[in-house]
Each structure stands twice: as C-alpha cells, then as structure tokens.
C-alpha cells in the first residue's frame, strides 16, 4: 500500500546515529525508525501515543482556546519534520514538550502583551466594582484568568512543574535554561500568583 504521508526531511548525519537506548524503549526505537521513513502507521502510532500529552499541555497553558486544535496540528507537523534529527538525548515526551514550548512561546508573549494593556485599561475603567462583580463567576474560570496574567516565562515553568509534574531538571532541559533560572522563575511565578489571588 502506498503511504499517503508526505515526503519527510532528507536523511542527515544525525539519522545515522542510533538514538540513546537509555531514554527510549526498544518499541519506541522501532517506531521511530519506521516513522522517520515516513511509515504512516508508525506516524499514527506516534500521534496516538502523544496527542493527549500535547493537547493537555496546551489546554493547561492556554486555557480553553479555539486555537488549541490548530496548535496541536502545528506541533505534530513540526515533530514529524524534525524526527530525523531527533538523536534520543531525551525521552520522546520531553522532546515533544520542547517543540510545544517553541511553538507556543511567541503566541503567549503576544497575547500577554495585548492582554496586559487591556486588563489595565479595564481595571482603570471599572475599578474595584467590576472585579467584585467578576468574583461571582466560577472559581475555575477565575483561576484561569489569574494564570493568564502570569508572564509567559513564569507561566511555562509553573505549568510544567505543578500541572505536568516535571522536575526542575526536566524543565531546564525542555526550556534549555540553567537550573537556577528555572528555580528562580518558579519562585517568582508562585509569588506573583499569590499577589494576584490575594489582591483580587
């Protein structure tokens, strides 16, 4: 049967390197070798095994958002393209988190800049009364709104640590930052969230 999957990236030197066995099971190595060759079944298996992780992370990071489905497609399309260059220096989930973060980071920054101006204007316009009125809404929605007020760099670390359950070392690997930076961001994120929750 002819696969309908599009042609993938040309093999590079990295392809020849066998992925590190310590991070990948034999089944994952086999699936990866098939997926790199453009085998649709292997690609579908890759998608099936990880789509919930990507979708869940985007949902936790962005909240209910109409663009999540679009972002999931973008993340997997980029992952399929990058498969030949994956050297197995991390687990597949960590590697996918990194792609997801790179895909969403600019979007988060854009939204945060726009949202910050808008929120400040609304605060000035309606004052405390509007906030009190908003407090009648669902607690979960309010928690989501509070999280949106967190700067993107801090939000990413907070979501990875508290929602995804990753360690600081894993987060440092995903974001490609020093461990101390990640720890600092987590502390700042908690402090900022505390301020946001206790002042509203």
């Amino acid at each position: 049967m002819t696969p309908t999957a599009p042609a993938f990236a040309e093999p590079t030197d990295a392809v020849a390197d066998a992925p590190h066995v310590e991070y990948l099971s034999s089944a994952e190595q086999f699936m990866l070798s098939q997926a790199r060759a453009g085998n649709p079944r292997a690609l579908r298996q890759f998608y099936d095994e990880h789509q919930a992780q990507v979708r869940g992370h985007l949902y936790r990071l962005l909240g209910p958002d109409s663009e999540i489905d679009d972002l999931v497609q973008t993340v997997f399309a980029r992952a399929f393209i990058a498969l030949p260059s994956f050297r197995g220096n991390s687990t597949l989930s960590t590697w996918l988190y990194r792609i997801t973060t790179n895909t969403t980071h600019n979007l988060l920054r854009q939204r945060f800049r726009r949202g910050r101006v808008k929120a400040a204007f609304q605060w000035w316009l309606s004052g405390r009364a509007a906030q009190l009125q908003a407090s009648q809404s669902d607690v979960r929605d309010e928690a989501g709104r509070v999280l949106q007020h967190l700067a993107p760099d801090l939000r990413e670390v907070f979501v990875f640590y508290h929602y995804e359950g990753l360690t600081l070392q894993e987060i440092a690997q995903i974001l490609d930052k020093p461990l101390s930076t990640i720890g600092d961001r987590l502390t700042r994120a908690r402090k900022r969230l505390h301020e946001l929750v206790t002042t509203t």
């Binding site: 049967m1 998608y47 936790r60 928690a143 508290h162 206790t198």
Partner: protein
Amino acid sequence: MTQADDNQPTDGAARYGCLEAHEDAELAVADRLHPTALARFKAHLRGCSDCRRMHAVMDAVYRGPDPAASGVGIVRGDREFAAILRRVPLERPQPWPQRLLHTSGVVALASTAVALVVTLVSPGQQPLEHMPHSGVTASLGSPSAAPDHEVEHSGDEPGVAAHQAQVDYGRVIAGRGFLSTRGDGPPVLTDTFTVGTRFATEPGQSLQVGLLGRILANFEAGTDIEWTQAGPAALDLTLERGLIAVRYERQPEDPVLNIHTPSALVRVVGTVFTVEVDAEGRTMVSVLRGEVEVLNPEDQALIGEVQAGYRFDMERSTYTDVGRTEVRVAMPLSNEGPGHGDVVRSADGTIPGSWVVPGLPAAPSLRRLENILIPAPLPEPRERPQVARSDRRYAGPLAAAKADDGQGLIDKLVRDAAETRREEGRAALEHCKSLYQSAQSRYLSARCLTRFMAEHGDDEDLVEGHLLIGILRMDFANDYPAAKLAFQTFLERAPTHPEAELARYRLWLANIEHGDVPGAIERGREYLRRYPNGKFAGKILQRFPKLVSEL
C-alpha cells in the same frame, strides 16, 4: 476585611486574621501547613467569605484545568492526523535564500504600495488600471502565502476510494461460500460482486473476500453476512451470525468501516479484529491491532472501546484477553513477516509483531499459534446450529462461488513447473502447492513461491511465476505496487504468452484497487484494444462504461 478581623485572641492564642490567612494560603493548598496552623486557617475561613473565595481560587490555580476536557475521540483524531500530514510540507523551514526573497518581496510590495498612493494623489499621472504590472509583485506569490485556508478545507478532498469503480466492487480472494444478491435475488456466479451481496458459508467452508482494495475479510464456517452499503465516507457490513476476521489497512482518506450486528454497531478506523455473533445473537469483538468502537445501533451511543489484545463481550460488558480462536481466524489475513532489502515481506505463519496477544512471547520464533495461552478449555470446532431456511440458497451445485480467475492458471503453472524442474525444485513446488490448496493457508504460498522463484527464477519456463506471485501479493498483502511490478515483469518477458490477457486484466484490477483510477482507465483501454472480445472485457466495461468507445 470582615468580622473575622475583629476576632480577639482567646486562651492566649495569637491573633489570626486575613493577613495571616493570605500568607498561609499557598502552604494550605500544597498541604504543607502545620496541623495547628491549618486548624486556625480553616477556622478563619469559616468566618471570612473573602478568604474563602481567595482559598478556592488559589486551590483552583494550583490544581489546574480539568484534564478530562482535553480528550479527543477516534474519528476526530483520525481527521486531525490527516490534517497534520497535509500540514507537514507547510511547516517545513524554508531555506535562507527563499526567506530572503520573501523578505525582499514584502519590502518591494511596500514600495509599490507607496508608489501607487503617490500615483493616485498626483494629478496627470497614468490611470491605475493602465499601470504595467510590477515584476516585483509577481514574486509575492510564494508558497507561504497560500495554504492556510487550503488546510481548512482540504478535509473535503475526495479520498483515494472516491471512484465508484473501486468503492462499489469486491472480489472473492479464496475459499468457498454462497454469494447472492440482496433478498431472494439470484446467486452471484463470478468472483466479482457489488454492494448488496450476501455471503453465507456452510460448516467446513470459509471464504476470503477483498473490499475496496484495502479490506481483507475472512468469513468462518457458519457465517451469514451482507455488504449493505459503500461510499467514500463509510462502508457497512451486516453480520447476522458467525465469526469474521477483518484486516483494514486504512488510510486517513478511506471510509470508516461499520459492522452491524443484531445488538451492536462496531466502528472501525483501521485495525485487525474479529466480530462474532453466536447462536444466541450475542456480539463479541476481539482486536489484535489498533482499536475499534462498539456503539449502540439505535442511538449510536458509545458502549465500549476495545483496545488491541482484548475481547469484548457486549452483552456482559466484560473484557477478556483475545484467545487462540480469534488469532487462528485472523491468521489468513496476516501479511507480515521478515523481509530484508528487496525481498518482499510475506507471511510465514508467524503471528505478526504488531498484533497484541497477551501472554505471547515477543521473540518471532515463539510467536506461533500453539504458544498462545489458553485460560479455559478450547471450544469444540465451531459447528454452528443450522438455521432452518426456506430458500434454496444452500442447496445444489450453485452453493459454491466460482473460483478465482487465476485458479486454472495457477494449477496449470504448478503442474507444468513441477514437471520441468529439478527434483528439489519439484519438492519445493509441491510444498507451495499444498499451501495453496487450502483457503486457510493460501496466504503462506506467496512467501513459498517468492523463495522458489528466487532459486529458480532464471528458468524461462517459470516466467509465469511472476504472474502468480503478483496475484498473491495483490490478493493477500494488498501490496499493489509489488503486484503491478510482477505483472509488468511478466508482460515484458512474455508479451505473447497465452496468459498475457489475464496479466493485463490483473494489472487493470490492481490499478483500481490501488486507487489509481486514471491509470486503471488507461489499462482498461489498453486491454480492450488488444482483446475487444476478451473474457474480461465485460468486467472492465461494467466499471467504466465510457470505454465502450474503444470497442
């Protein structure tokens, strides 16, 4: 602040107000607050609505959104996967010269826009519609500008199975059974059938059929099933009784397979599985690879999802491990086996590695039917109670479907080759022949013959072997590229061979089932030019009536 702030400390305890509650909020949510402090924190919350609200929000923030809200169903996932594959070329990073060109194009467009504005506001200039086209704007038609909306709507593109010549027809691959048209219609006497065909197998019989060029189904003895509907979006079978095994190598654009039983609807998006309706009308679904959904036939509500390795009893809503019976029935659908380099992969009787069979070792040499654990005594060979029938469908010599077109040729080839080959070749051929005799083991003969041809393929007397291998690759492995290559090799080496007509017909059929309708039309035209009165001309004209002009 609320009344809680006015609480005066009693019994010597320190004052605990909103400020302290705010400081302890994070520790309380993280369950790291000292029990004494936690008791005071909770006592404060009981009297302070603002802090209760704050605590609820803090708790929600640290708990995060509900993960259950981020799930996706099978069918939706299928569509999304197809969209991802379409998006891959668009997400590929552009080389730097193209990016530079794109950037310069944007700059040039801005310059052009400024020039146009100047033109508009400046009197005495040439009218806008008479302006010559800028050569720069042509460069803006880069691929990066196009595709977004195309991605949105590309889901409406017809799938590979959009042409009725492929969708509406099926073929008998092997075995024996009774085929008739819907209701009390006449029996089907050829190896090709259309939508509305009913299949019945008596005890001791089994039947293998191919649908859509993607689906290979094995009907066990005592099965009664009808092909009720076919279309680009869905293909429906109605199983009244018996046991069937199906392998569906589905691509994202292919239709979803629905199997209706008296008590369930089994929805399949690509997998290897079996469905059984026993004498009491109960439905059992076993999955060896992939996943299927079992739905209520009335309201389409999801009853259960059956993962690979499980057997689902719908009436009892229980899951058990797949057993030897299900694997045995599905084994003729196997097309996986070891293959290296240019050697095609053919089944060798090993249970494929992609099939999930609990308790079966992973080593290929141990993945045999006899090594499947049997938790309970094996049921007796399935002798299903015969349902009293008033019609004549099971009686008389018509109770057998006509054999496959290649049957006569295959027998002849096997006989002729066996006579001319060396003694060891003769023995090997006899082995292949014995495999081919049974519908249950015919799928193994492709591998046997491939090995035989590798050893004796230079013999000019064996050129027909390419045709034989092509037929088997096409029928059992759905490996149409390999089949077409085999047919073409045969036609190149023996263009005037007596069986060249069959080879050209098979080449036409392989193009259809592969979804290459333009190629099939071309092959059909070629056949009709060569054999205007050929024995397959009617079948070609049945699917492509417009080719009658070639006669």
